[in-house]
């Protein structure tokens, strides 16, 4: 019976270690997931793209409309300087957005892009974007921010209008540079 108790305790120790290991594994999935997304090229909306083909297709025109949003009580003003632009596929397009911090303290926020139709995402290459970094604005500060992009020729013919939407989220806690 004593040996049985010892064997049972040894078994319990092993199983507790497995359970703790799996708890750690849950957290290890986070860097693993990020690495997979990086390798597979998924989810890299906040990184600059390399443009391979800048051949301009002057036979068609694309309209891009801009949409701006603020979330989680972020007391900013956020607007595109132009509501929409028209351009040819392959053309380098440079537009600006303006943000203003209406609150009385410095605030850090991050813009997250979204677009419609979904299929356009694959053909939209951003060379520079304010969404690549967090933006920290002092009280009352106004900032003009660039978006430089190319929509490649490979965009399907039936897409004539693309909507780009940016949403600023306040970044709090240790990941935000303004505490």
């Amino acid at each position: 019976m004593v040996s049985n108790v010892q064997a049972n305790n040894a078994m319990m120790r092993k199983l507790v270690i497995v359970a703790c290991g799996m708890f750690g594994f849950g957290f290890a999935l986070v860097p693993f997931y990020n690495k997979i997304c990086e390798v597979a090229g998924i989810n890299n909306v906040a990184k600059a793209d390399a443009v391979t083909n800048t051949q301009v297709d002057s036979t068609r025109l694309i309209t891009m409309e801009f949409d701006t949003n603020l979330r989680n009580g972020l007391n900013w003003t956020f607007r595109p300087l132009e509501k929409s632009v028209r351009f040819h596929p392959g053309e380098l397009v440079n537009v600006s957005f303006e943000v203003k911090n209406n609150s009385d303290r410095p605030v850090t926020a991050q813009a997250i892009p979204s677009w419609a139709p979904q299929v356009a995402g694959r053909h939209m290459k951003k060379l520079d974007c304010f969404c690549f970094t967090q933006q920290t604005l002092q009280p009352g500060e106004v900032r003009r921010m660039p978006l430089v992009f190319v929509i490649e020729n490979s965009l399907p013919d039936d897409v004539h209008v693309v909507t780009m939407s940016y949403t600023f989220f306040p970044v709090e806690g240790r990941n935000g540079s303004a505490g």
């Binding site: 049972n8 319990m12 849950g26 999935l29 998924i42 926020a109």
Partner: protein
């Protein structure tokens, strides 16, 4: 309990433990703890069932009649959480506590005190869940899957749900450690692994699954908690996180969890079918291998729950084919049960009715699962009532029917009395009919595009929903008959023999009915 056994078990069991309430609070006896688990599970089944009926009452007619949409979402969420973590899982742990030591010839579970702890963690968790309805903002309404970013934005009810999940997870892990150690270290001499009853095998594999994935769930909800309160941004895109990652981590837990809820059911059915076909189980070893294959495959199919989040076609194909592969071992099992019945001398007492009902209706749920595994179809059917129909066919007609079957099968052994066979059969037929009245129309409303978790719907779905609601209330009321049958069986009834069922095999039928408080203190020898 005292007077019923005379086969060398006649010593006084009641000398060893306090009586009254403290007996149940302090008990370390596997039979007492099994009973506690089963009653806890039944009461949670009633709570979750009342929530379901509140949902169905709202859905009886189109338009908003009874509840605000936000409260409706709380109801769907809490119905799911309570049924999964409060009703189905504890019921199977209750079976394991009662039956595993009896079936392998062990005197008790390996860690009797920890066993007491595993159970008594559950009522506080249940209280946390139920009281979360009454905190500001109400209970969590993020769905039982607790998807971020909903779960990172909810009120304090979400925190209570997270703590409840932590506690229930700890309870499950402790229970699993106990079960694995008992099975591996405490089998009677001669009981080799490949001689173990299939219920014990399925629980061994289930317990390993629990140890592997419950900590991952604990990790996921911990990340939600720190995102909510401690400034981390695991699931917050603005801080560099990704809400889709929550779905990956959750379903890495969630899919094995699905099998945690069905493998013990397979085990129970594999005990019942041979007993009433009066033939040994067909293909015992293939059953063991099929169970193991299902468990292993369950780790590589999780993303079929989230085909619509946007993933590369190669991943979709991988998860689609891997999912379909699971149909093979599952098919082996269904084939083996039917082959066991083939040319057997079958009788249809209540446990066998539930086992046959299980095989029939569970297979339908399995087939709709295969339909949903096909990526392009899944993208159409994602979050429709077709999915609701599918998982209720496998969870209610699967897990719950097996639990009912198991209760009827072993109840005479537990109580020493035969239950009322006529009422048992009536309970089966009412349950079976109302189950199908409730859930079969959901296939149609889902195929026609009715979204789940929405309190209102288009007029075209009105007839199907009215039918589902009528079925749901019938199903709920039928379970009162089950309670009546069980209570009258505990109170009295015809004396049950040691070997209750003519064709039943296994060590549990060698001890008197009711099973004495202490069994197998001298291990039996299995030849």
């Amino acid at each position: 309990m005292e007077a019923a056994h005379g086969h060398g078990y006649g010593h006084d069991e009641h000398a060893h433990h306090p009586s009254g309430l403290m007996r149940w609070v302090t008990t370390t006896n596997h039979k007492d703890i099994g009973t506690l688990y089963l009653w806890f599970s039944f009461s949670m089944f009633i709570v979750g069932g009342i929530l379901a009926l509140m949902l169905r009452a709202e859905l009886f007619q189109p338009g908003l009649q009874l509840w605000e949409p936000h409260f409706f979402n709380q109801l769907t969420t809490m119905h799911g959480l309570i049924m999964v973590f409060g009703a189905i899982m504890p019921a199977f742990v209750g079976f394991a506590n009662w039956q595993v030591p009896l079936m392998i010839g062990a005197p008790d579970m390996a860690f009797a005190r920890m066993n007491n702890w595993s159970f008594w963690l559950l009522p506080p968790a249940a209280i946390l869940l139920v009281t979360s309805f009454f905190v500001p903002g109400g209970a969590t309404a993020a769905g039982w899957t607790l998807y971020a970013p909903l779960s990172t934005q909810m009120g304090p009810g979400m925190d209570l749900a997270i703590f409840a999940l932590h506690i229930m997870g700890a309870s499950s892990i402790m229970g699993s450690i106990n079960i694995i150690t008992t099975i591996l270290n405490m089998r009677a001499p001669g009981m080799t692994l490949m001689k173990m009853p299939l219920f014990v095998w399925t629980w061994l594999i289930t317990a390993y699954l629990l140890i592997a994935v419950m900590p991952v769930l604990a990790g996921a909800v911990t990340m939600v908690l720190t995102d909510r309160h401690f400034g981390t941004t695991f699931f917050n895109a603005a801080g560099g996180g990704d809400p889709v990652m929550f779905q990956h981590i959750f379903w890495f837990f969630g899919h094995p969890e699905v099998y945690i809820m069905i493998l013990p059911a397979f085990g129970i059915v594999s005990q019942i079918v041979p007993a009433f076909a009066r033939k040994p189980l067909f293909g015992y070893s293939s059953m063991v291998y099929a169970t193991s294959s299902i468990a292993i495959l369950s780790f590589i199919v999780w993303a079929h729950h989230m085909f619509t989040v946007g993933m590369p076609a190669a991943s979709q194909l991988f998860f689609m084919y891997a999912t379909m592969l699971i149909a093979v071992p599952t098919g082996v099992k269904v084939f083996n049960w039917i082959a066991t019945m083939w040319k057997g001398s079958m009788t249809f007492e209540t446990p066998m009715l539930f086992a046959c009902g299980f095989i029939f209706v569970f297979s339908m749920g399995g087939f709709t699962g295969l339909v949903l595994a096909i990526t392009p179809i899944d993208i159409q059917l994602q979050d429709t009532y077709y999915v609701v129909a599918h998982f209720h066919y496998v969870l209610v007609a699967g897990s719950l029917f097996a639990i009912f079957g198991g209760v009827y099968y072993w109840l005479p052994k537990w109580t020493g009395h035969m239950y009322n066979e006529t009422l048992g059969k009536v309970h089966f037929w009412l349950t079976m009919i109302f189950f199908n009245v409730t859930f079969f129309p959901m296939h149609f409303s889902g195929l026609a595009g009715m979204p789940r978790r929405v309190p209102d719907y288009a007029l075209q779905f009105a007839d199907f929903n009215m039918l589902s609601t009528i079925g749901a209330f019938g199903f709920g009321l039928s379970q009162m008959l089950f309670l009546y049958v069980v209570v009258t069986c505990i109170r009295g009834g015809a004396k049950a023999p040691d070997k209750v069922w003519e064709g039943a095999q296994g060590l549990e039928w060698t001890v008197p009915s009711p099973a004495p408080y202490h069994t197998f203190e001298i291990p039996p020898v299995v030849k």
